[in-house]
Symmetry: C2
Subunit: 435 residues, 2 copies
Amino acid sequence: MPRLVIIALLAMLFATNTPAQQSLQDWHDYIDERAATLHTQVVGWRRHFHAHPELSNREFDTAETIASFLHSLDMDVTTGVAHTGVVGVLRGGRPGPVVGLRADMDALPVPARAGLPFSPEVTSEYLGEEVPVSHACGHDSHMAMLMGVATMLAERREALPGTVKFIFQPAEEGTPPGEEGGAEMMVAEGVLTDPDVDVIFGQHIWTPAPAGQIGYRPAGTMAAADRFVITVHGKQTHGSTPWTGVDPITTAAQIVLGLNTVVSRQTELTKAAAVISVGRVRAGVRNNIIPEQAELIGTIRTLDPAMRDKIHADIRRTAEHIAASQGAEVNVDIQRGYPVTFNDPQLTDAMAPSLQRVAGDRTVRIDALTAAEDFSYFQREVPGLYFFLGAAPEDIPLEQVAPHHTPDFRINESAMQTGVRALATLTIDYMLANR
Amino acid sequence: MPRLVIIALLAMLFATNTPAQQSLQDWHDYIDERAATLHTQVVGWRRHFHAHPELSNREFDTAETIASFLHSLDMDVTTGVAHTGVVGVLRGGRPGPVVGLRADMDALPVPARAGLPFSPEVTSEYLGEEVPVSHACGHDSHMAMLMGVATMLAERREALPGTVKFIFQPAEEGTPPGEEGGAEMMVAEGVLTDPDVDVIFGQHIWTPAPAGQIGYRPAGTMAAADRFVITVHGKQTHGSTPWTGVDPITTAAQIVLGLNTVVSRQTELTKAAAVISVGRVRAGVRNNIIPEQAELIGTIRTLDPAMRDKIHADIRRTAEHIAASQGAEVNVDIQRGYPVTFNDPQLTDAMAPSLQRVAGDRTVRIDALTAAEDFSYFQREVPGLYFFLGAAPEDIPLEQVAPHHTPDFRINESAMQTGVRALATLTIDYMLANR
């Protein structure tokens, strides 16, 4: 099936424009060869970033490294986008679409325990504390791979049938309190315009999957993550006489169960999964006083933008009417976080053969993830495809691989060659199919 | 009906023992007259205690005052019972039963805001803090009334057909952490033996009811108050993937609602009321982490000893099986507090005419209270009757009266005359009917 699709694509290109077919093959050969010869350099860049991690909105040295690198490739470079973001524009010698490629830049307040020669020994201020910092989510590899792609495409700039916008984005992990940043701010500052981006690609290194595997899915891929605070206002009284008050704890318990029915009874789960979790409950001080109020704090994960809005409304209706049924009042505060990382279904289907070409039988359709990712802000503006690049270390069993965001996090650097090929192939295949 | 009962009682006494009838009338006349002439003194004693409040198990000066007073009446006096308790034994000149009369001695860590000439200006150490202390529950009046009864019965000691044990009990409000005390400890130290007490009477001044009213009921009158801690052990995970953990918050919510069904579905409410209240919930730290555990702390109020045991078992079964249904584990810790203040039904019916005689049409059958009282420990050993003496101030509407245990708590001292008559009448009526 994948091979058939590729043949169909090639046949289509061949039918309309004979030089394009040759060009595609040329490009693919070039990409694969150059990715191999560039690999040592990509690994070196990644290790440099790994040794010098910087927290969200504080990617100062990282930005400088990237900016001077893009300058060295003779691109138009814009710095200071959304604080520390860097954008390089590579205009090809031939006409064609504008493709955005994105890598995120920030590290995490997580110590590095892997004990590698290039493991960081860096601390930074985080929420008022000086804490160890590391690239425990692999954004170092994202930047290095995008630099590899930039290198190989810049070297063939004259033949390039379109423009590539290299978007190095700060603060994917969330901004410090009170600050703006990340993809949302880059979009607001016009990163997708002038030249207008037609399509955007991004990837995430992913150690739970075998190295070199590419995982993707159409539509909702990573979740919208919204935070809610539900405050139930009852009427305080002695625990021995509940009828003289309004019990916010029983009401809150009913609401917790009501929230479960929002997912299980009111959400069209064949369309997409959804999760509502209460993560924190606070109510009362001692056994024999029914308190004034109860507070529920939780998270909402949705994989479909319309479903997201519906679930917010369902939560409000559920909480408000349960509270009213008890004579209590309730305040439902839903703070919208990152939107759904929504892979444009048409684009995903069109580009699937490109991913298949790169990863072969290690290309897999994955289930949606209920984690969140601010690549979603780009995808709200233009069609986008976000995929996962397996990078499990080979020296330990898959089930023992340390999760992302943990001190023992460690990637398999060999996977980066696949990642470079994937981004470059998507770019060229899209350009050639959309000239 | 009350008058008929009195006539029946008198007729019965008359039928069996002619001198007793005369003696009863004599006693009643004496009690009423002496209570009137003693009233100023009783008020004085009460004001002395009010001005010198002492916390539970710290009733040192109070005990000394009482002990020297009982000595002055030429009683056998035992001090240091359950730390600071004082017991006086008045042996009558004629044979008869042993009647226990109990007054509690301790004050509360509540400031006095009533602004009376004898309002206390006392602070004491409470849970490591120096706090204002006052007799905000009226135990000062309980002691003063019992001293009035002691005075009048001691003055007629030769004619007294039985023995009275005056029990001044510390720490009704609960002991400091780690200490024993109160009625339970007095019983353990043998306060109801040597001579063996046949019956015990006690009263509580009660400002929510009009002054001079006497309220009582047979069987469960004040609740057993038990504290429970239910700890649900789940399995921590990220809020976005509840299926990889066990959610203790949803489980705890189910248990809260399950506890409500213990009362509403499984308890024979026509026999007696029951209350289960969760007063405190703690679970988790932030919106997107499903925590390891959830803790529910609450109170159980029951008015029937057998129902109490059944409800404890129901709570365990409910919590354990709900937790098991979610794959969670649960620990149910029920700390038994004061037992049910259970008025012996036969004794209550037999003594009701005595209360009617004292309070006339201000004698009322009351609903049970879900507050708790350690008079219950005496009632577990011997038949007992505990009643409420209305004492609302006359200068404000009843609905504005400050509740017990609050800074503005204030009693109507005139009610104490009724209280003295009630305890003395119960004693004499019981003795004459049970010689």
